[in-house]
């Protein structure tokens, strides 16, 4: 039956990956009960993830396609599926109506970023990205039912995202005028009539996506949004939204950097932004007093490493960027999923002694921390290694330094976190609750843990990333 489903889905894979979650969103809103809505949402998300994985597997082994888009679409779809399965544990955080809307919005976020990764032209990328972003804003605002601070966070997101979308629109215009086409695949090979306009346009588009991905120092909205949004909203923001936006950025950069007339400038800008994000994100993570904000700022640092890898402009660099994107997604799932499992306990000093009180959640969070540190045999280590290797190979010694700095900062703030979980004694009773539906988060946490553990046997992942990067390079002049 599974085979039949795949056979039916294959000719329309791209459409299904985008449309299935949207259809699921509509059905979820119409469902009479919140649990039924969750079931519908989870099934649609899983179906989209399966189709996306199959699409990526066939596309990456076949050659001649949009490698980054295929790889990242599968990644985003899987993250969305993990988040939506885990939503079953968190429905009690909303009223019955709000829960259905939250599930529908989460599906729209996943669909939007998948669409941005599959769209062949910039207008499609823009529309899909806006869909995802506005759904994210609404999802955060919905958390305002329990904590009104989420409304303020949503306002911040809307303001920042609105400016970003205006810049994106202007960027589209500049690219259209400078390059003569809005097709992404044409960028590397086409003769660019006005390189200045084109480079500015690409810069604006990348800046807009960077803002939505939470890349520092453009991440003005991150603190309020992650800090006050509920567990599910922050999980979707981090594991789907940030990963999707960053993947879209890498995809656009992957087409722009090989273009001879504008590539060098784009690469330099990305490299600078990446370095700034590593530094600022790491510093803010060190100062974070809230688990979700720590995850968000650590994500900004990781995003910076992804940008530096992409800016290298080599096949090895793009492959390293994709591996790190995977690592970032895995860490976001375990840190934010683990945070969601803890309910209202988010302040770091309240996590003291969690290793005894909630051993599985603590273990998942610790594993995420180890991956952020770049501990050997985790996927985070593999990503850092690939970046250092690619940087040394390209003579970008500072890139290797940035990766090391990110790891060292990770040792500091994650080491402190792990010390709180296992060494310090609990100051307060754990109020995690005994809701049996909390187990619905287990698959997501296990998926995240498994993804981090891929550091032990990453052959498949490395081959996929290398194939994706090779496809991008095949299209370059």
């Amino acid at each position: 039956m599974f085979g039949l489903f795949l056979d039916w889905a294959r000719p329309h894979a791209a459409l299904i990956v985008f449309a299935a979650p949207l259809a699921g969103a509509a059905l979820a809103v119409l469902a009479p009960m919140a649990r039924l809505a969750w079931l519908i949402a989870a099934v649609c998300a899983i179906a989209a993830a399966v189709v996306a994985l199959d699409f990526a597997a066939r596309g990456l082994s076949g050659g001649g396609g949009d490698g980054a888009g295929l790889f990242a679409t599968a990644l985003v779809a899987c993250c969305a599926a993990a988040a939506l399965v885990g939503a079953g544990a968190l429905l009690t955080d909303w009223g019955p109506r709000a829960g259905r809307y939250a599930l529908a919005l989460a599906l729209c976020v996943g669909a939007g970023w998948s669409g941005a990764l599959l769209a062949p032209d910039l207008v499609g990328v823009f529309l899909a990205a806006e869909t995802a972003w506005l759904a994210s804003v609404a999802l955060v605002a919905l958390s305002g039912e329990r904590d009104r601070g989420a409304l303020n966070g949503a306002l911040g997101m809307l303001g920042a995202g609105g400016v970003a979308s205006a810049l994106f629109v202007l960027g589209i215009g500049l690219i259209g005028r400078g390059v003569g086409t809005l097709q992404l695949a044409a960028l590397p090979a086409v003769q660019i009539a006005m390189p200045g306009l084109a480079a500015t346009g690409v810069g604006l588009v990348l800046a807009a996506l960077a803002l939505k991905a939470g890349v520092a120092p453009l991440h003005v909205w991150v603190g309020a949004a992650y800090g006050r949004a509920g567990g599910f909203a922050s999980l979707v923001l981090g594991a789907v939204g940030a990963v999707g936006a960053l993947a879209a950025l890498v995809r656009v950069a992957a087409f722009a950097i090989p273009a001879p007339a504008i590539g060098a400038g784009v690469a330099m800008s990305l490299a600078g932004l990446g370095a700034a994000s590593v530094v600022v994100g790491s510093l803010q993570a060190i100062g974070a007093s809230n688990l979700r904000r720590l995850a968000a700022y650590a994500g900004a640092a990781q995003a910076g490493a992804v940008l530096i890898s992409a800016a290298l402009g080599s096949m090895a660099g793009f492959a390293a960027a994709l591996v790190q994107l995977f690592a970032m997604a895995a860490v976001a799932i375990v840190l934010l999923g683990g945070g969601a499992a803890l309910g209202g306990v988010q302040a770091l000093h309240l996590l003291n002694g969690l290793g005894r009180r909630a051993p599985f959640t603590a273990a998942a969070i610790s594993l995420g921390g180890l991956s952020l540190m770049g501990a050997p045999l985790t996927i985070g280590f593999l990503g850092r290694w690939r970046l250092i290797e690619a940087g040394v190979g390209a003579g970008w010694w500072w890139a290797a330094g940035a990766a090391i700095a990110a790891s060292l900062a990770g040792v500091f703030y994650c080491g402190r976190l792990i010390e709180r979980l296992y060494v310090r004694r609990a100051a307060a009773a754990f109020t995690g609750g005994d809701n049996p539906w909390r187990l619905a988060l287990a698959p997501a946490l296990l998926a995240g843990v498994g993804a981090i553990g891929l550091g032990l046997a990453p052959d498949g992942l490395l081959r996929a990333a290398a194939a994706a990067a090779a496809q991008l390079w095949d299209g370059a002049p």
Binding site: F126, G173, A224
Partner: protein, 107 residues
Amino acid sequence: MAPDGILLAGAVALLMAGAVTAWTSANVTKRIAALALAQIGALAGLSALGAPSAASVAGIVAAFAQLTLGVALIVRLQETYNSVEAPELDAADALSESQSQNKLGDA
């Protein structure tokens, strides 16, 4: 300077003015209005650059969606905080965050 160039310059100026106001204004309603202004500037820029109509339509749709969401947020903020002044919202949030941390710490 060609008319298109003047229009583009004006559009960029409008966009920047809207962006700065959206980030710095203390009143939430003014922020949303400034956002709309920035979007209008971006669309005007698109027009000046001769972008295809699909891009303009996409921009208009996005702007409209943002405006709608913005207005809904203004209403919810007014209902929840009894204010739409950003400093008051931030102060209320800071107070409630520290109160909730103390409550959990005392539990």
